[in-house]
């Protein structure tokens, strides 16, 4: 265990808290300004990632390069949060890394959003759009966590998420030169 104390809470506490945080910002505070809501949710994630990474790296030598730090996120950091590692890591060797989790726990309870909704009625399309937007809001949180964790390791970056094949999720990390 890298984390301190070993204290545990029910997983549903984390689920409902995250859900309610997203509802608060995207539903009640900034329902007509999704960009602002997304930024706030990301900021909360950033704070969490920054602190977690601080705690998880306390007794560890500094990482020698970006790849080492990213590997730490994929293995140790991810395992602490999700009890599994990132399944696939790709890089273009020019500062972009794609971290794919084939079973991303936090979206397993969200309904998959279909990317094609052609000949459906407009109501269905609207509902799909709403759900897509809700999912995107939701993903701002883990994106913020990853960015915060890397920022704590001295790596400024931008992070975005993409649901390729629900519940698989890819996080794209672009390191700022």
């Amino acid at each position: 265990m890298v984390g301190g104390g070993g204290r545990e809470v029910a997983e549903s506490c984390v689920d409902v808290l995250m859900m309610e945080m997203v509802m608060l910002y995207s539903g009640r505070f900034y329902s007509s300004k999704p960009d602002l809501a997304a930024r706030r949710i990301e900021a909360i994630g950033f704070q969490v990632g920054h602190q977690l990474s601080e705690r998880y790296t306390m007794e560890r030598p500094r990482f020698s390069d970006h790849l080492e730090a990213i590997k730490f996120i994929c293995k140790d950091f991810w395992s602490e949060l999700f009890k599994k590692q990132i399944d696939n890591l790709k890089t273009n060797h020019r500062g972009t890394f794609v971290l794919q989790d084939n079973w991303f726990r936090w979206i397993t309870h969200l309904s998959p959003v279909s990317s094609e909704s052609t000949n459906d009625s407009s109501a269905v399309v609207a509902a799909d759009n709403n759900e897509a937007q809700a999912t995107n809001m939701y993903l701002c949180f883990p994106c913020g966590i990853i960015r915060g964790a890397l920022s704590n390791l001295g790596i400024p970056c931008a992070v975005s998420a993409d649901i390729t094949n629900h519940p698989a999720c890819s996080f794209v990390v672009r390191i700022k030169a």
Binding site: G3, G4, G5, R7, E8, V9, A10, E11, S12, C13, V14, V16, L17, M18, E20, M21, M23, L24, F29, R40, A43, I44, G45, Q47, V48, Q51, L52, R55, E80, L81, K83
Partner: protein, 186 residues
């Protein structure tokens, strides 16, 4: 005969999916911090935390009833006991205790000595009016409302303000008689 409700949530907690509490604690802390930045007024932050808790409570009650195996509580006294010993343990991993009943048996204190929400938390002087754990009062209020009990929940003691424990005053305002959930012809 003693009621069949479990007197402790240990077994229930052992059987639910659990995660590292740090993530939960830090996420809650980051939310409170963001709310303080966005809303500026501490009073308003208290209100939003309570509202979040209420929304969570009305959702968590289903999971609680499904997984805790508690049988129907006979009265408010037993309900309070189940919340403290089973509810808190099942979700937060720590049990609370109940005391300070009034003569009518309609208000009591739920006392928490160990509280994962506040690990790593210290309140700055500017937050004196903040009820940092206000989400908990909302959760209790929301969950009880779903089992037909209207309550008022307020803080009597708060360790972040220098007290020796967390004490929530829970007052039963109204108990709506439960309707039989099924119609005969269905």
């Amino acid at each position: 005969m003693a009621p069949l409700a479990p007197r402790s949530g240990d077994a229930v907690f052992a059987n639910v999916e659990r995660v590292n509490a740090e993530l939960f604690t830090l996420t809650y802390g980051a939310i409170v911090r963001q709310l303080l930045t966005d809303l500026e007024e501490v009073e308003e932050v208290n209100k939003q935390l309570d509202q979040m808790g209420y929304n969570i409570g009305i959702r968590l009650i289903d999971e609680f009833l499904a997984k805790s195996n508690v049988s129907r509580c006979v009265d408010f006294k037993e309900t309070a006991d189940v919340i403290a010993k089973v509810g808190f343990k099942m979700f937060l991993g720590v049990a609370a205790s109940v005391s300070n009943w009034d003569a009518e048996g309609t208000s009591c204190s739920i006392i928490l000595e160990d509280n994962p929400l506040v690990d790593f938390v210290e309140l700055p002087d500017t937050c004196q009016g903040l009820y940092y754990c206000n989400i908990l009062s909302g959760v209790i209020r929301g969950a009880l409302e779903m089992v037909s009990m209207k309550t008022e929940v307020s803080w009597a003691r708060d360790m972040l303000h220098g007290d020796d424990a967390y004490e929530l005053r829970v007052k039963l305002l109204k108990q709506v008689p439960e309707e039989y959930p099924y119609k005969d012809d269905e």
